[in-house]
Symmetry: C2
Subunit: 406 residues, 2 copies
Amino acid sequence: MNDDRTTRRLEAYARLIVRTGVNLRPGQELIVQARVEHAPLVRLVAEEAYRVGARYVDVAFADAGVRHALVEHGPDDALDWSPPWTVQRIERASEINAAAVGVSGGSDSALFADLDTGRLARARPLAYTRAWISGVLGGHLSWSLVAYPTSDWATEIFGEPDVERLWDAVAHALRLDEDDPAAAWQARADELERRCELLTDRNFDAIRYRGPGTDLEVGLIAGHIWKGGRDRTVTGQVHMANLPTEEVFTSPHRLRAEGTLRASVPFDLRGTIVEGLELRFAGGRIVDVRADHGADAVRADLATDEGASHLGEVALVDGTSRVGQTGVTFRNTLFDENARSHVAWGTGFGFALPDIPEAEHAERGLNASSTHIDFMIGRDELEIDGVEADGTVVPILRGGAWQLTG
Amino acid sequence: MNDDRTTRRLEAYARLIVRTGVNLRPGQELIVQARVEHAPLVRLVAEEAYRVGARYVDVAFADAGVRHALVEHGPDDALDWSPPWTVQRIERASEINAAAVGVSGGSDSALFADLDTGRLARARPLAYTRAWISGVLGGHLSWSLVAYPTSDWATEIFGEPDVERLWDAVAHALRLDEDDPAAAWQARADELERRCELLTDRNFDAIRYRGPGTDLEVGLIAGHIWKGGRDRTVTGQVHMANLPTEEVFTSPHRLRAEGTLRASVPFDLRGTIVEGLELRFAGGRIVDVRADHGADAVRADLATDEGASHLGEVALVDGTSRVGQTGVTFRNTLFDENARSHVAWGTGFGFALPDIPEAEHAERGLNASSTHIDFMIGRDELEIDGVEADGTVVPILRGGAWQLTG
């Protein structure tokens, strides 16, 4: 019976990914990035994609064990190298406006615990990452990030490989327990888009966070908009870049963040679980990094380039989040960032300044970087306000409840 | 205990693959083609490669379920399409003279049994296959084909997922049960190379096969040589293209084969198990195809191009083959072709005519094609003779025993 149930959920998930996530068009190519252990979901995604009319489904499977071998035994200059085909593949997909599914899920932290954290943090294929960021942020790809419940991931969360329990949480977060998950997501996207309109119309000058270990004000850029719910490629293809997605977000001014910020839950940074992270900002820059675990990995990532130690995203999530309702800390950023308000260091989003020419983005304050790392800063315990240009403070979130109305 | 034993065997296998199979050089890149279920071996191969000094280990995992989705639901013109990156990857590897490991193992026949055999046979990426054939036959890659025992593969052979029994057979065939498998393979390669010298020196005009369902004479090309044991790339890197390898082989004249040939064991043709194959040759061309199962798949492959229905390889295997000694029909060509004498339709090997300029190869009778499919024609039951230019018949194999001496 569990097998049947798992199969039905997987099929519903594959349908949601193909038809709502990337919203595949007949004749479009689909690329998939996944791990070898995600093959059961990937097969169903491929089937569903061909049913919809995919011209081709091209899957690149990665394996954490192969990455472990690279980090443990590989030469230094191989750590951040990208095999040229991995870049060519993403560039071509961007050129032809392909759809792109990225699957996460599975814990690296146990596997990678024996590795040097500095080498582990440097083990990221830079050219590939740049091609991917350019493809998704440029609106060239109809993309969707999803996750597949593996036994390793369940163990990471629950201390035992209880995949069924993880599936229950994932299915609720993904609205797969609704009669019509696609319709439920369209309704949720409508709600998120209404919030974006409210926030954009307010044109706040700054966002203020107060909570345990956190007292931060982050300046916003004049002319910014808030995004959430659906995305749209340069060809006008509507898609949902994250499944689940519960956030509304924008890109802040890279030189205007002052104060302290505490991460409210651990998060995975390229294989290192970062715990108890505390950051201090001055002039928009991260000037102090403390953590109970993983500070080296954070510092290594912040050293990626000049923009890495400035903020690229502020995102608001309220208590009606399905992910938050599960009560589970997933130790997977796709899920955890949709349970709690969060920020990201690293690159900002050009689409947050739609009316400002791209050439002026940097001058106006938009951050640019080859990295972009989200981390969670809080839920019910966090008070979040909008600050208007005249100093008026407007509550946005209190005790997890959305305050702003039209 | 079995876990330990499996781990030790896997480690020994990975060592053999890296140090004897591709004979990896420090600073060389290694590419690996494998299936998702081969990850446990691939991880150890990557580790061993980095220990030897690999500059990078680049793994491309395929999944039979994704291929199933393509064949079942994909558009016609996608069946033989190659994503450009798959071609670019092999071309670059050839340019830089990388090492290349290909892992097979795992039965497709149960998974693919519900598919249209015509579509299944056409589902092969042509441009990728051409790039691969060009890389390996041109001597640009230090390559080695190996296999990994999976439970699906064990079920295909034994009717139950007895991986331990399969491992026993594989380990014997691979000489992993020797104290020094690498030394055992060097000794075996020496023997095979001595046989090649004997055969090359004899300069036979033809090879004659007689056995149940088989009565065939295949002409050889003046100036041919026999190959076996070790290979050598254009840069002089010595490697073993197959592990296990028990054959000595050459490429025959494409227009000189007359008679009938019966395959002695079933074989996998791109996912279709071909059983009871009988071919009739006239003027070197396959003019009649019969089979108990899979004839459509054979006909589809023979229709690849003009050269597909002519022979590209004749290979001799005697009873001292470790693979043959296991008594197992592996239903995997890498193993089964090294237990029995075999032939292949499709492309011939330029290296079989080392003293003849490449421009003259076609005129001299060497076959060319985008396909190359080996199948087994017999062991102890097959009498194989060399025929000299004056008609003298010289026994080569009788009852599985090697007859030719210096």
